[in-house]
């Protein structure tokens, strides 16, 4: 893909590598960033950013697309539209499809389908066959076919022996394993975090401790096997000391958190609103604040949308029976900006978690505002206010907890490899 030379001026450059947030200019040519704060080269088209923010495009780990199996919920095309409108330039997509992405053949199929998206797609593959937690997948072949990480997503294996083998094998290939910390026995049937709110609503709850126990088990396996390991979501304060200890001991461990657990808490479920049902369930306000703090300190590395499309039928059910998860591609950035507006995170820190760290963890060149980096960029006005209407989202599914909410922050343009893929 070739593109013309663009010279962005009067831009508030959000640079997660240097941690700076300063007005400047940036030049891109042929799909890469070629200069920072330099004069416009001859023949370049000038883009006046009007003092708005220019940041590296978001690299979102953990996006669910309904291909194969549930294209009525989300296709590569519709997800790509939503991502571009949300400033996401790389979607790292999940293997919890129907069937699971657990063979190189299925991976090749979705890789072909992914061409319909207007943003970059990277694929994750299942760690075990059928995500059943017993036999490891063909990790080697899947790596060759382009898998960037291996995960059974929200299915947690209780077969620790099988996992230890999968971790050991993955380590020999240098593959990244992404785990979901949850003790499977404790969380059976749970729809909420146990506590006052769940008891009042009569919802079956899971103790926040189930996450800690699950994390401890996985970190034990990391210590045993030396595998490269990423925790998909840390959502409770009780898990943080274990994570901190593993990092301090030099293990190759990183962690993520979903934007919903950073901006919502269990009380938001209110009168059984199923758009607020998540895996893991929303936590207490104390936990939410601890997660925000952990992102600020860099203990939690990555923020993701955990985009999970669900159709109306699967949400219009009693809370316990309703599907979990929310669409998040278009709301990730505006929701994350709530933390900026609340004075809890500055913009470079936010983009370190949204773009830089996720790229780094997967060994991608994106997520940087430096010479030579791909020209995957998002231009946004962090102060533009609007009321979110879920039916205006580009996703095929409209299950967002932010419906009707006042949001602040709008994407003005999204560039992938120097090409404008979205202009608001």
């Amino acid at each position: 893909m070739t593109s013309m030379t663009l010279h962005f001026t009067n831009a508030r450059l959000i640079n997660p590598e240097s941690g700076t947030d300063e007005i400047g200019s940036l030049t891109i040519d042929n799909g890469v960033i070629v200069a920072l704060d330099d004069d416009a080269p001859a023949g370049a088209t000038e883009v006046d950013c009007g003092g708005h923010c220019l940041a590296p495009g978001i690299v979102d780990i953990g996006v669910k697309i309904g291909e194969p199996g549930e294209r009525h919920k989300e296709s590569f095309r519709s997800a790509g539209l939503a991502a571009s409108a949300g400033g996401i330039t790389t979607m790292v997509v999940r293997p919890d499809t129907t069937p699971s992405i657990d063979t190189p053949e299925v991976l090749e199929f979705v890789t072909r389908r992914a061409g319909e998206a207007r943003v970059r797609i990277r694929h994750m593959a299942a760690l075990t066959k059928g995500r059943l937690g017993h036999e490891m997948t063909e990790i080697g072949f899947l790596l060759d076919a382009g898998a960037v990480a291996f995960t059974d997503v929200f299915k947690v294996s209780s077969d620790t022996k099988a996992l230890s083998r999968a971790f050991t094998y993955a380590r020999s290939l240098g593959a990244l394993v992404i785990g979901h910390p949850q003790e499977p026995g404790l969380s059976v049937g749970a729809a909420a975090t146990s506590g006052k709110f769940a008891s009042l609503r009569g919802l079956p709850g899971v103790s926040a401790m189930a996450e800690r126990i699950g994390l401890d088990r996985d970190l034990g396996l990391v210590e045993m096997t030396g595998v490269r390991y990423h925790v998909d979501q840390i959502t409770t304060a009780r898990s943080l000391p274990a994570l901190e200890r593993a990092k301090a001991n030099g293990f190759d461990v990183t962690a993520g958190v979903s934007i919903h657990h950073l901006t919502l808490n269990e009380i938001d479920v209110g009168d059984y609103r199923t758009f607020f049902k998540f895996t893991p369930p929303l936590r207490s306000e104390e936990d939410r604040m601890a997660m925000v703090q952990a992102v600020a300190e860099g203990l939690i590395d990555v923020i993701g949308s955990f985009h999970t499309p669900a159709d109306e039928e699967s949400k219009r059910l009693p809370f316990e029976e309703a599907a979990s998860g929310a669409v998040g591609l278009e709301t990730l950035l505006p929701a994350a900006l709530r933390l900026y507006h609340a004075g809890q995170l500055d913009l470079p820190t936010l983009f370190r978690a949204l773009s830089l760290n996720s790229s780094k963890r997967l060994g991608l060149p994106q997520g940087r505002l430096s010479v030579g980096a791909p020209a995957d960029l998002v231009l946004f006005d962090p102060y533009a206010p609007y009321l979110l209407d879920r039916f205006k989202l580009h996703s095929k599914s409209k299950n967002t907890p932010f419906d009707g909410c006042r949001m602040e922050g709008k994407v003005l343009a999204t560039y992938v490899a120097g090409q404008a893929v979205y202009q608001g």
Partner: protein
């Protein structure tokens, strides 16, 4: 009138004044029910549908009788054996029924919040006859009426709720109601049957029955919900009875005039001694059943008044 609700979904939404309004009207229906001629025309011309997604004999009979005594056309849908089992969703069932223009819908469902969901989709008044582990408002109201008639008041009493609190919607509704009416509440249960976070509800927690019963005016026993248990909550029924079953010896720790209540159906010899349950000097369990019909009549009467008033306003609106 101080009862303005459209639906009766839970005690949580009721004010103390609304609770008193219901109890006062129910008192009058108790008198009616004791007469030879028990009929009223409060619900004449209205259609009441009882939808029980969970099996029930007692509550369904109580609602049916209440509706019939008030002159409603009552229909029972045994939903457990119908299209719901063929995969129809709760909303579809509700929409189908709604098209038949019922006026009062009495619903019991196994999932918490299911009745709230249904109420948001239909045009009639909805009464919650029990949803999952959430609420069972008419049970709490009938318990309150029973206590008020036995003790002369429903304030400043020490009330012990004992047994399987974790799985009980009756306990939740009672906790909320009795708390709103400013009573001193004690919960007595093995820790495995105590819901998480309940210490924030403003009640005292006990795992020793004798200590918990000390000085109580009212002892409310709960049914051990065998069907809701996945197993492993208690070591055995006989150990449960030994430590938490109410018998004369344990009851002697409560006040001498303490009353014994149970929402039924009882597991005799599991949570309550059979003889004690039948002791007319202590047990008000039969009174609870009687109050049940009166309280349900009062609730449906009040909801029907609001429904008629609302429709009257709508009709005036269309004429203009």
């Amino acid at each position: 009138m101080s009862f303005r609700a459209r639906h009766l979904l839970g005690i949580e939404q009721l004010s103390p004044l609304e609770i008193t309004t219901i109890l006062d009207l129910a008192d009058r229906y108790v008198d009616l029910n004791r007469r030879t001629v028990k009929s009223s025309d409060a619900l004449a011309g209205l259609t009441q549908i009882n939808m029980f997604f969970e099996n029930s004999t007692r509550t369904q009979a109580s609602f049916e009788l209440a509706g019939k005594r008030l002159g409603a056309d009552v229909m029972n849908m045994s939903v457990g054996s119908s299209s719901v089992k063929k995969g129809e969703t709760l909303i579809d069932t509700a929409m189908t029924l709604n098209a038949m223009h019922p006026d009062l819908l009495v619903v019991r469902h196994g999932a918490s919040g299911a009745v709230n969901l249904l109420a948001s989709k239909v045009n009639c008044a909805v009464l919650n006859a029990g949803d999952g582990r959430h609420e069972h408002p008419t049970q709490a109201l009938l318990d309150a009426l029973t206590i008020r008639r036995a003790k002369g008041r429903i304030q400043r009493l020490t009330i012990a709720i004992c047994g399987d609190i974790a799985h009980s919607r009756v306990a939740r509704s009672n906790l909320i109601l009795l708390g709103k009416m400013e009573n001193r509440l004690r919960l007595i249960a093995p820790p495995t049957l105590m819901p998480a976070g309940v210490e924030h509800f403003g009640c005292e927690l006990y795992d020793d029955m004798r200590k918990g019963l000390e000085g109580a005016d009212v002892v409310m026993m709960l049914r051990l919900q065998k069907e809701r248990m996945d197993g492993g909550f208690i070591p055995s029924e006989r150990e449960y009875y030994h430590r938490y079953g109410l018998d004369a010896e344990k009851l002697s720790f409560a006040k001498p005039d303490a009353i014994v209540m149970h929402p039924g159906p009882m597991n005799r010899g599991v949570e309550i001694d059979g003889e004690l349950a039948d002791d007319i000097n202590r047990s008000v369990i039969q009174d609870q059943v009687e109050m049940g019909v009166a309280v349900r009549m009062a609730c449906m009467d009040l909801l029907a008044r609001n429904l008629r008033a609302e429709r009257g306003r709508a009709a005036v609106g269309t004429m203009v």
